[in-house]
Amino acid sequence: MKESISNAARGRIADGSGRLGPSSICLITALTVADFIDPDLTVDTHANTGAQLGVLTLAALLRRQGYNPQIINLDDLFFDFVRQDESRPSIQGKGKPRSIITPSDFEPGQRVSELFFPFVASHLPTDSFDIFGLSSICSSYPLTLRLADEIRRRNSRAKIILGGPQASVVDVATMRAYPCIDVIVRGEADDTFPLLLSLLESNDPRWESIHGITFRREHEVIRNPNAPVVENLDRLPLPAFDLDLRIKDRNGIHLEIGRGCPFACTFCSTNDFFRRNFRLKSPATMIADITSLKKEYGLNYFSLVHDMYTIDRKKVVAFCEAILASGEKFTWGCSARTDCIDDELLELMASAGCTGIFFGIETGSQRLQHVINKKLDLTEARQRIECADRNGIKTTVALIAGFPEETLDDLRDTIHFFIDSLRFDHAEPQCSLLAPLAATPVYDQHKHHLVFDQIFSDMSNQSWQTDPLEIEMIKTHPDIFPNFYAIPTDVLDRRYVKEVIDFVTYLATWSRWLPVAILQDSGDLLNVFDRWQKWRLERRPSESDEVIAWTPYYSHRRFHNEFIEFVQTCYVPEMANAPVAIAAVARTESAPARDEHKPVVNETESFEGSTLPYKLETLFVTNVEVDYQELIASLRSKTDLKRVSPADVTVVFSDDRGELNVWQLPPLAGTLLRLCDGQRSIAEIIPEFSLLGIELDGIPVEKACLFGLMQLRADGFIGLSSSPLTWIDDDEASLGPEKFLLPPKASNTQQPWPAFRAGEKSIDSDF
């Protein structure tokens, strides 16, 4: 049936019997970015997202049929809403500044999230289109449905069609609850949606027979059989990237390399959508597309989208070899299972420009690996992560906690896996709370006893606060929004699990080595967490405590400061097996936000007695009582921290074009550096240095001192001034604060993106 309908539609184009494009079509993407907290981070996230591939591909297919679809990218609107940057072009005005919401728009007690829907609604050109196609994902599905309702309220004649992963799996319940929706296109819409439009356009009643749609006939909801998947992905056009208004601002884009994962993990929602049917685009198509996009938009990084790319080793090898043979220079990322990749393949992928891999590890518990049907060997998983690290490939190590069968031991294993992966420079662990996604085995098993405890997973939370209206929608329709619900855990308190996740997530964000050191030292991070919770309850507030306002506690710097305090005053004296080593790590990572001010310097190059050396303001200097190099080596290799040699060591952190170099200084150099305060002249420093009674095997102390100053100067640690330094007492001149932050995660479902600096297309562009 479908084939004949399809041919009929194509025939209309071919024989010119009627133009298919009089209807105006507006495609609205699903909101995928969700950070009301930090506009700057949102900017970076935004640089890495772009309009969704499904929508852009549909737009390209519709163009083939003569339509001229327009796209509203909700991520763009979200970006504008959060950024509050009037210089940005609007989606409608293209370059014209537009009014945006400012803090003055708040009513007392109103939440930020409550302002987003009216903001989006005010930008919907509801009267201008005949057909609206809204894509959907679980986390922003309430918003999508509100928008559909708003469109219907303002344009009773428009056809409203939903598609995408979430609408596909909760289609019948959605149609019954939301009469504003006319049709839901389920699964891969590349053939179904254009066909549907063409038949609707020509008032052909056969549209009701199209496979893969759910629709309404009077008061009845009818669900047609599934449509087949697109077997040959090479026949799909390049997505209409020109409709992504910000593509030229991006450092990379997503590009589909295939579809369908044949595995059947209990928590995963993509099985239903892609029917577990593994397909890949050919290397020739991929390289042609990438070459074209490089040329057109100057892109250098391509996030190659596939649920599980590396299943067919030969095809991955063929792709890598095709890249190398083509001579094209670009970097790319993909997803993989750690049991579907090997060291040799990782090396080849790295040589062909792969810089990022998303590894879904899911749980650090070998027992749960079988329960959730993932069945990874965790020892092998660690080896693959280590191999990727050796090859300079960034890995996202994705974990989930809160499975219904999860025990305390399972949770401990998962957070230990999380922290353990921090030993690798290129691994970025993330941990999400389990969300029961619709149509997954775990949902089907537990759907009759879900609870709404408002402890949201980041997989089901579109912002740090959910709009109260959307909360009501969720409460009314658990069958439409199950991902906002929870599966009761048999053993664990979900509130506890959530706090543990936040704890390790932000430990990893605020620190580099402290969580690794404490795990290595204690052997039981949950035990440390429990003690930390108790300590926090007992702790008396200090006047220096920062007010955290509405910021979630663990994401605030106050958590970092208090945890350092906990380590220094409780963990080290009470619990530590290697107290000196732990104290050293805590000290080096306790660097507070610098509140120093920029000095006024009269620079000189002259090493004269009157010259005043000063420690550069960009350095952070501290002293530890162990050999710091040995300590870090011990953390990397998981050797006994008690065996790290005691030593009087100065540690210096220096910022070098965005990278933070950590240096160890011998005791003499550290002593001398502390004397370089911009107030003492060289003539004054030498006698003070001499007073230390340093023996240097017959070398005169003044010569040693001068040598040391020259060496510090050559090492880039001190500057020279011809007059005493003064400081500007101006907040504007204060320096940026932190050193230990890791990059934020661009998304919790994507492979890691290359580091990106403002003003650069990509730091990997010189690959």
């Binding site: 907290i37 930090d38 700057d40 981070l41 970076d44 803090p103 003055s104 708040f106 009513e107 007392p108 007690g109 109103q110 420079d425 580099r512 306002a549 509405w550 910021t551 936000a593 190059e605 550069l616 960009t618 710091y628 190099q629 870090i632 210096v652 965005g658 990278e659 933070l660 170099n661 950590v662 240096w663 160890q664 200084l665 011998p666 003499l668 150099a669 001398l672 240097l696 095997d697 070398i699 010569k703 040693a704 040598f707 040391g708 020259m710 060496q711 100067r713 050559a714 090492d715 500057g719 020279l720 940026g736 604060p737 932190e738 230990f740 932050l741 990059p743 580091a755 990106f756 600096r757």
Partner: protein
């Protein structure tokens, strides 16, 4: 960042090669590691400040 200068230590200070070597050990920095990309670090402050502004209802915004 101050400009680096070329050392003229042997001629300026009259040190022997052995003395140079000993002093270098006593003063020269050793790289421990380069921390993971932290180019977002400078944003921490603005992040927290913006949270405060966004989070306050109208009657609290100064």
């Amino acid at each position: 960042m101050a400009k680096k200068i070329e050392l003229q230590i042997p001629s300026d200070l009259g040190l022997t090669k052995k003395q140079m070597s000993d002093l270098t050990k006593s003063f020269k920095k050793q790289l421990v590691e380069t921390l993971k990309a932290n180019q977002k670090a400078s944003k921490t402050k603005s992040k927290l400040m913006v949270v405060d502004v966004l989070a306050k209802p109208k009657n609290q915004v100064v």
